[in-house]
């Protein structure tokens, strides 16, 4: 994979990131078109809201998967991580906008009451607020400006992902296989973080050992 990355010419590599943004927004566009033209069955607003929420979770999972993929399988997708994170942000933003505009008809009293009184919405909103912060500081200028604090700040993504999974599981009448799947994915990806330093030390030690005694093979 690393070789493959290197093999891609600079221009193509940049283009592939933009392609990811374009492809990533297709589910939202498709869902909006289906809903706006009356092609979503039953309760189209809820269907669309749920579609946006699910894709937000998927992009959060993809963002969190970048590091373990490189650690464990040597697949380097670091180049795409910012795009994946921002896609998650755009989906959460659309999810919330659909709820505000299409579902609640901008009835702000009802929206404020929902956020204040329904724990699953409170948790979702808290996650969204943190995600806004990360989206605003996702540019190069912020990275340079914030220095080491940038890394600390962006560790908030762990809290955001947990909030997202919780928000989803708490929103349904019965926590079913689909909810458990997302909870499990996010739990595994978060659990990797504390395990990671130990794994990396062993990996490095192993690599060093190989280097010293090549004749063993």
């Amino acid at each position: 994979m690393a070789q493959l990355q290197a093999a891609l010419p600079q221009g193509l590599r940049r283009a592939s990131v933009w392609a990811l943004y374009a492809v990533g927004l297709v589910p939202a566009a498709w869902g909006f078109w289906l809903g706006a033209t009356g092609r979503l069955p039953g309760n189209p607003v809820k269907e669309f809201e749920h579609l946006l929420g699910l894709w937000a979770l998927r992009f959060l999972i993809a963002t969190l998967a970048v590091t373990p993929l490189r650690d464990l399988f040597g697949i380097n997708a670091l180049r795409y991580r910012r795009a994946l994170g921002l896609l998650a942000f755009w989906y959460v933003l659309m999810h919330f906008t659909a709820y505000m505009v299409l579902d609640q008809y901008l009835n702000f009293a009802a929206i404020v009451e929902d956020i204040a009184r329904r724990p699953f919405i409170t948790i979702g909103m808290a996650g969204f607020a943190m995600l806004i912060l990360l989206a605003l500081t996702s540019n190069r200028w912020s990275i340079r400006k914030l220095g080491r604090r940038w890394g600390k700040l962006h560790q908030l993504v762990y809290v955001i992902a947990a909030a997202g999974a919780l928000h989803y599981a708490m929103s349904v009448k019965v926590v079913g296989p689909q909810q458990w799947f997302y909870i499990a994915c996010i739990a595994l990806l978060l659990a990797w973080r504390p395990l990671r330093p130990m794994f990396m030390r062993r990996k490095r030690a192993g690599a060093a050992g190989q280097h010293v005694t090549p004749d063993r093979f």
Binding site: G35, R39, L40, G42, L102, D103, R118, G176
Partner: protein
């Protein structure tokens, strides 16, 4: 230039759906018998009924939505699951056992249920999930059935039970089971005997599709939809309040009474308003205020006189 006027067709010349369905049914049945001997069990059968003063004149929810957007966890958790995954379910033959505190316990075969005088009841249906429909049911008052078994003086509640058939109902098999089966529900006897409470055998003038609770289900229009237990196999009159599936699963979210009440929120959403299903895409759908007792306040509020409806939600 004179404007074009479409020819007006006298109402009497339009073939009622039930009759042309009859023809289709006959043709399909004949073809089936001739060709493969395929059972006509899965075919919707037309039902004759009379009109009812209890019907609303609100715009009907399209049949395509009534039969495709369902909560029926025996077939899966998704709204589309009941339609997509109920093909194996066999609603005939069928029998409903009526027992408990009655002087004449007995079983009712499906044909016997269909021989009660059937009425069309166009009711609002308000789901606890804050959406609603307007559905033309075909059925008869539950009171008529209860009369034939003669409840004893000690009977105060009516318990209902759904069929358990894991081999025909995919939601009842597999390693994930969302609820304890059988699905059970209950009503107070006076609620069960209320003239609005019906056993429905059909909708849109035909026998019930599997996903809507074939072959017989309960409809209590002033209560949240989950009280309308589907595919009923047993009705038992009891002295004590019987268990109700959602009530025992999450007592803080779903009460035993479950009367539609815009002032008692579900912990996770407001019940003050609702979305009418099937009114077009994003921009045709509208939120309308939810009415106390789902708009049936005049008819039913009397039986709850003096009761704290917030405590007994």
């Amino acid at each position: 230039m004179p404007a074009y006027r479409p020819p007006s067709i006298p109402a009497g010349e339009i073939t009622p759906e039930s009759i042309f369905l009859n023809r289709r049914h006959f043709l399909a049945g004949a073809a089936g018998l001739l060709a493969l001997g395929v059972s006509s069990r899965s075919l919707a059968r037309p039902l004759q009924s009379t009109e009812s003063p209890f019907s609303t004149d609100e715009k009907l929810t399209p049949e395509s939505d009534v039969t495709a957007y369902n909560n029926f966890y025996e077939f899966g958790l998704g709204k589309g699951d009941p339609k997509a995954r109920s093909g194996k379910f066999k609603p005939t033959p069928w029998a409903v056992k009526v027992d408990g505190l009655v002087s004449k316990p007995r079983e009712f075969g499906l044909e016997e249920l269909l021989s009660f005088p059937l009425e069309e009841r166009i009711y609002r249906m308000r789901c606890v999930e804050a959406w609603s429909m307007v559905i033309p049911w075909t059925g008869f008052p539950l009171a008529a059935l209860l009369d034939t078994v003669e409840p004893l003086g000690s009977a105060r509640y009516v318990a209902f039970e759904t069929v358990v058939r894991p081999e025909e109902m995919p939601g009842q098999s597999g390693f994930f089971q969302p609820l304890d089966w059988p699905y059970v529900e209950g009503l107070r006897l006076d609620e069960a005997r209320h003239p609005l409470t019906i056993l429905a055998l059909g909708l849109y003038g035909k026998t019930l599709p599997n996903q809507n609770g074939a072959p017989v289900r309960l409809v209590v229009p002033w209560k949240y939809g989950f009280k309308g237990i589907k595919s009923i196999v047993r009705i038992t009159l009891t002295e004590k309040q019987p268990p109700a599936t959602w009530n025992i699963t999450a007592p803080n979210e779903y009460g035993f009474y479950a009367n539609v009440n815009p002032e008692v929120d579900h912990p996770r959403w407001s019940q003050a308003s609702e979305t009418r299903i099937g009114e077009g895409g994003f921009f045709g759908a509208n939120r309308r205020p939810t009415l106390p007792f789902n708009g049936y306040e005049q008819e039913v509020s009397g039986i709850y006189a003096g009761m704290d409806l917030k405590a007994n939600f």
